[in-house]
Structures are given as structure tokens and as C-alpha cells.
Amino acid sequence: MSIPPGHFLMLAAVLFTIGVAGAILRRNAIIVLMSIELMLNAVNLTLLTAGRAMGDIDSHVFVFFSLTVAAAEVAIGLALVVAIFRSLGRTEVDDISVMHG
């Protein structure tokens, strides 16, 4: 017996909400990055669910791409965090606000 798609979707929604809350509420840049990863994976999960429910392989391909891009994004994001930490000594995102208007 297979798990109905609704469950997967619900899980994805919960994960996405947690990611959003983390990205907006937390100050630590690494936590924010992790929250963004969480949101991405929630979306991936949605895609896979839909693909599976509709018997369509295209969404799986999308997810592979998305994973690849996410990996690259994390690499760059972490590199930025390291660079910020080196110059400021902290990784609070609110401190990185020199571009305000």
C-alpha cells in the first residue's frame, strides 16, 4: 500500500513553513542558509510527489537539476559567510546591512 500524495504534500508544506520561519526569524547566517535549503527541499519533495502522482518523469529530472543548483548555492553562500566572518568577526545577517538606502 502506498502513502497518499496528500501526506507528502503536507510534509512539504510543513518543511517549507519551518524554512520560511527560520530564514526570516533567525539572525545567524548559517542557520538562514540551512533554512533556505529546507525550503528548497520542500519544493523538491512537492515536485517529486506531483511527478509520481501523475506518472511523469520530467519532475524527477527537475529535481536533479535543483539539487545541483542548491549544492552550488550552498557552496557560494558558505564562502560568503566565511568571508563575512573574516571581516566582521560575526555572522549575524543584520550586521550585513551596509547597502541600505
Binding site: V20, A23, I24, L25, V32, V93, D94, I96, S97, V98, M99, H100, G101
Partner: protein
Amino acid sequence: MSLIELLPLVPALPLAGVLLLLAGGRRLPGKAAAWLASGLVGAAFLLSLGIAIEYRGLAAAGSGSEHATPEASAEAPGAAEHAAEAPVIVQTLWRWMDVGADLVEISAARQELPMLEAVPEGAVGPAWFDLRLLDAVEDPAARAGLEAGLSRMWLPEAVVGEMPMQALPAGMLVTLDNVPPAAGRDAATLIVDAPRRERRFTVDLALQLDALSIVMLLVVTGVGFLIHVYSIGYMAHDADIRRYFTYLNLFVFSMLTLVLGAGFLVMFVGWELVGACSYLLIGFWYQDPANASAGRKAFIVNRIGDLAFLIGMMLIWTTFGSLAYGEVLPAAAGQAGTWVALAIPALLLVGATGKSAQIPLFVWLPDAMAGPTPVSALIHAATMVTAGVYMIARSHSLFEAAPQVMAVVATVGALTALVAALIAAVQVDIKRVLAYSTISQLGYMFLAVGAGAYVAGIFHLMTHAFFKALLFLGAGSVMHAMEHGFAHAHAHPETLDGIPPEQDMRHMGGLLGRIPATGWTFVIGGLALAGFPGLAGFWSKDEILFETIARDLAAGRVGLWTLLYGIGSLTALLTAFYTGRQLLMVLAGQPRSAGAEQAADSPWLMTLPLGVLALLSLVGGLVNAQALGIHALADFLAPVLGGHEAEFSALPFIGLAIGIALAGLGLAWWVYGPKRELLAEDGAFVDPIATRLPRYHKAAWNRFYVDELYAWLVVRPFRRSADFLWHVVDEGMVDSTVNGAGRLMAALGGWLRGWQTGYVRSYALSVLAGAVIIALWLFRAAW
């Protein structure tokens, strides 16, 4: 080798002077530049003289030479017997403009058309051509030609314009304008007639040699040469002598273009060029802002007349399809009675009043005296200002087609003559007296050409060029002498009423014995102007007045021309009076300043031209002394201007004219004679007119407030509207719109800046909010 073939060389010589002085003027010493310029004008004069002599021989032989293109001259009825023997020689240098040549080719294609249907019944005025008739044309080539022709022809219905024929609805009526309606003509004939030269605009740069242009040629180059020579002495110490002679040569070239041009447009080019030269030379000493603004005033007032001239030329072209004299003038009589026949000469008249300083556009000429005195002599007395008279005489057949305009010309001339003479009688600036006198004498010329006495007008133009150039040059010499006198006496007289002391007649007096060469020639010039019997001005002025009243005598009535004769005679009295006044104030009595006491005569370069001009003023009138039975000039000009056979005895009028001239001079002697004490007890000059006729003196002294009237009527509204445009429209509307747009953007930017906090979380929140809104939008169907 005939000299007439060299005609283009006449204007080319001064033009070469301009180019040489422009190219190498800086490297030449001032004297050399002056002699070069004068020599070139002298050469032009000699060449003109040769051409004139050869032309006389040609006219006497009664045939055109093989190289020339004789054309039928515009002939007045009285000149029919002369017309055959005086060729009009037109030399075309090159085709200057040629627009619309394709239309002529179309007409050739259209000649082959077969007959079509008859003109629709009731077609009056412009002919109508029903495009449905095209279908009736069988021959495909002819039809194609017709279609192409109709589609490209200039037509009142703009819709036809460039449209291909196929696009036109069948049955649409197309006007072939300017086709005279004729009963019994069929449509095909109309079409063949329709494409005409009017639609093709061609202008040749051509020179025309006939009796009139020869007279002008000799006056311009002859007087021009004398004034060049005089200028060498007069301007010897001016640092800008090269610039001066460049302008002067350019002026001679322009004036020659004006009088030699074989069409209105070439004349107009000369007309504008002399205006530009006049502007440049009035403001020659531009370091003084008053001189520069006098130049601008002359230029702007002239523009008003030029605009009318230009519109008149456009009307000439649309009416006659050409701008060449040889095609327009003979056709002018055929237009008599139409509104264009009235409008064209009226517009030309406005142009002439601008250039020749007549009412209402005369205000610029007195101010034009701000230029060097030889310039006043050459441009603002002898040549340029007579261009209006020349233009009217040249296009007299256009004017004759509208007798009303002729009457206006004569009236304008007579009134101008009177008003200017009234003003001249109270002026104390030696040049201003002459300036108003010039306006007055130009008025006589207008009176003459308005009365149809073109020969008399051109005759007066010629004699006036002699004696007025003489008077202006004499005035320049007097000023030169006074300046020398003031410098010698180390006197620094105060400037009264803004008139430089050396040209203020109140400081003069008793100069005849001190500067005899200038003085005696000045006397001759003055007497010639006053109409002293036997001198040049007497013959020409008398002829004008006689021809004026002759028009009423011939009709046996007392009317407009008698009135104009009365005005002219009154003006003659005033002329003699103010001339006598000037001569007496300058030359007679006791010196009224140290400058006059110590005055010394001018160098020979200046007095020699005075002598030549004095000789011309003495005997110049004899070329057409009608009373003595001499009418050489009239006979010479008759082929161009028409002859006038006086049928009445002019003797009583000549007696009257002599009496008037002597009375005016006697009156001046009585008021200003050497025995009269003109100085008040405190040594200030008192004009007897001011004490006897204070109100007239005040009004005339202020030039009858014409400048003030124009300031009030024209300048003030102009300034006000300019102020309105500046403050209300530009600052209030344009600027505030642009600035408002800028301020709006700045405010919007300031508000948007507030959103740019720099906090990642606030951006993330915005993105989330956006995502939520989009999601709600996408799922709006669920609600």
C-alpha cells in the same frame, strides 16, 4: 571682342576686391588695401563706361549683336517706335535653380492624347476633368502618360498628390486650375494645356543690360569710385581701414547685382546683400553700442519691407510662372483688374518703402548716420536707398496694371517729402539735416514714379546721387576740418543733445573762408539740392513736379495730382529753406566755436572727389533739361521706361519753380543771414524758429514723435509679449513642468529608499508577501 560680353566682370571686380581683402588684407598695409579696393571699383567704372558707349552704338545701329540675346523689352505705348532699336541684352551665367523639371516631361507625354469628351456642362472657372474619362482613352501608352501626369501634377486637392491613379475613386473630379474656361474646348485640349511652366520653377543667374541698368551702372560705379577715393583720405587713420574697404567693395558688388539682375530673385539677392552691407557699415564703429543698435534698427525695419517684397515675388511666380523680367513684365498688362494685379505692386511698394525709407518705414535712415560719413554718402544717399525707386521703375508695367497703387506710391512719396523736409528744417546735426533731406528727395522720386514719370524719377535719382553724395562728403570734410580745429585749439566743447560737437552746426559758422575747397563745393551741392536755376537738382525736381501736375492738366481737372503738386512745391520751398539754413549756419557769419576758428581744409584725396561731384552737380542736369529742349536721358531710357511727351508748356511751372527756390533761399537768408545774431547773450545758439514757432520746432525737433509712436505701437507690445512668454509661459509653464517632473521623481525615490533597509530578513519578508499574494491570486478560483 566686345565689351558688353565682359558685363559680368563689372560686379566681379569689386567681388574680387572683397575676396582679395579677405584673403590677404591683414598682410597688406592699410593704404594699399584702400587703393586696391578703390582701383577695382574704378576699373569697374571704366568698364561700365565702355559698355555704355558700346551699347549706345548698338542701340543706334538698331540691332542686337550676335552674341547677345535680344528680347522684347517691356514697352509702354509711347515707346513703340523706340523699342525696336534698343536691345535688351540678357547674359545668362548659369541656371541657378530648377525645380519640378519632371512636370515638363509629363506634358510632352500628354501631347499625344486623343480627343476626349466635351467639358461637362456648367463648368465655370477652373476646368474640371472627370477621371472616368480615363477609361475612354484606348491607347495604353497615352493612358499611362495621362495617369502618371495627373498623379504628379500639382493640384488643389491635396488627395491627388502622390497617390497612384488607381487609388482614386472613379468619378472623382480633379481641378486643373489656372486653365481659362473656354467654350467649345474639349477635355483633351484642356489636359494638353494644363501642364505648364508655372509648375516648373527655374531661375537663371542672368544679367540684364538695357538703358535703365546702364544708367544705374554708371551711377553706382561712378559715384562709388569717387567715394572710395574720398574714403582713402577720410579713413586713413582708422585702424579698421581694411575691414571698411572690404565692406565697401562688397556693397558695390551687391548694388551691381541688384541693378544688373535680369529677374526679381537676382535683384532680391542684391537687395538683401546691400541691406547686410548697410547693417555692417552703420555699425562699423560697433564699439559704441549706439552705433550697433542703429545698425540693427536699419536691418530690422528693412526686414519688414523685405518680407513684403518676398511675398510679392511669390505672387509674381504663381501668377506669371516666372521671375525673369523678360517674361513677367510684358505679361503684366494682361492681369489688370485682378486682385493679384493689385496685390503684387502693393507688396512691392511696401518693400520699396523699407529700402528707400518712405513713410511708414523711414525711421531707420536718420539713425543710419551712425556709420562713417562716406558710407552715408554712398549707401544712405546715393545708391542703396534709391533701390526702391529703381525697383518700381524696373517693374513699372506691374504698377501700371494697378493705377490705385500708383496713386498710393505718389501720395506716399509726396507726404514723405513734406514730412521729412519739415523735420530737416529744425535739425542742427549737419548729417541729420542731410539724412532727412535724403528721405525728402526719395519722396520726390516716389512721387515721380507714382505719377508714371519714370524718366523723371530716374533722372532725379541720378542728379540726387551727385549732389547728395557731394553734400555728405562735404559734411564729412567739414567734420574732418572741425575735428582738426578742435584738436588744434585744444578745445573740448561739450556735447549738446547727444550730437558730437564736430558735426553740430551750432558750433560752426564762418567756415567758407577757412575751408574754401570744401566750402565752395558744399555751396554748389546745396544750391543743386535747393533747386537753384540751372543746377542739377533744379532740372530733375522741376520735371517731377511738372509731370505730376501734367496728369491733371491732361485730364483737364483739379484732383489728386494737383494736390500732390502743391505738396511737392511746398516741399521745394522747404527744401530751399533748410538747405539755405544749413549753408548759412555752416559757412556764413562768425565762427561760433574754437573748432570753427581753427578749421583747416581736408587733404586733396578728399577734396578731389568733391570737385568732380560739384562739376557733376553743376552740369549733370543738362542731360535732360527739358526746358532747353534737351532730352537725351529721356530718349535713352524711353525703350525701357516709356516716353512722355509733354503737351503743355512747362514754362509757367518752371517760372514758379525758380520763384519757389529763390523764395526759400531768400527766406533762409532773411532768418539766418550773416547779419543775424544767432547767439543769445550767454553764448548759446538760439534757433529763430524755436522762438518764433516754438510748437512746430518742438514737434519737428522730436521728429514728430514717430519713433515714440513705433516704440509704443510695436516695441512695447513686443516687449510685453516677450515678457509674458518669458515669465508666464517659459518660467511658469515649461520650467515648472520640467522641474515638477524632477521633483516628483525625487520624492518617489526618497519614499522607495525607505524600503531599502539593508536587512536580509525584511527582503525575505517582502518576497514572502509577494509569493503569498501571487498564490492567493492563482487560487482565487477556490474561493
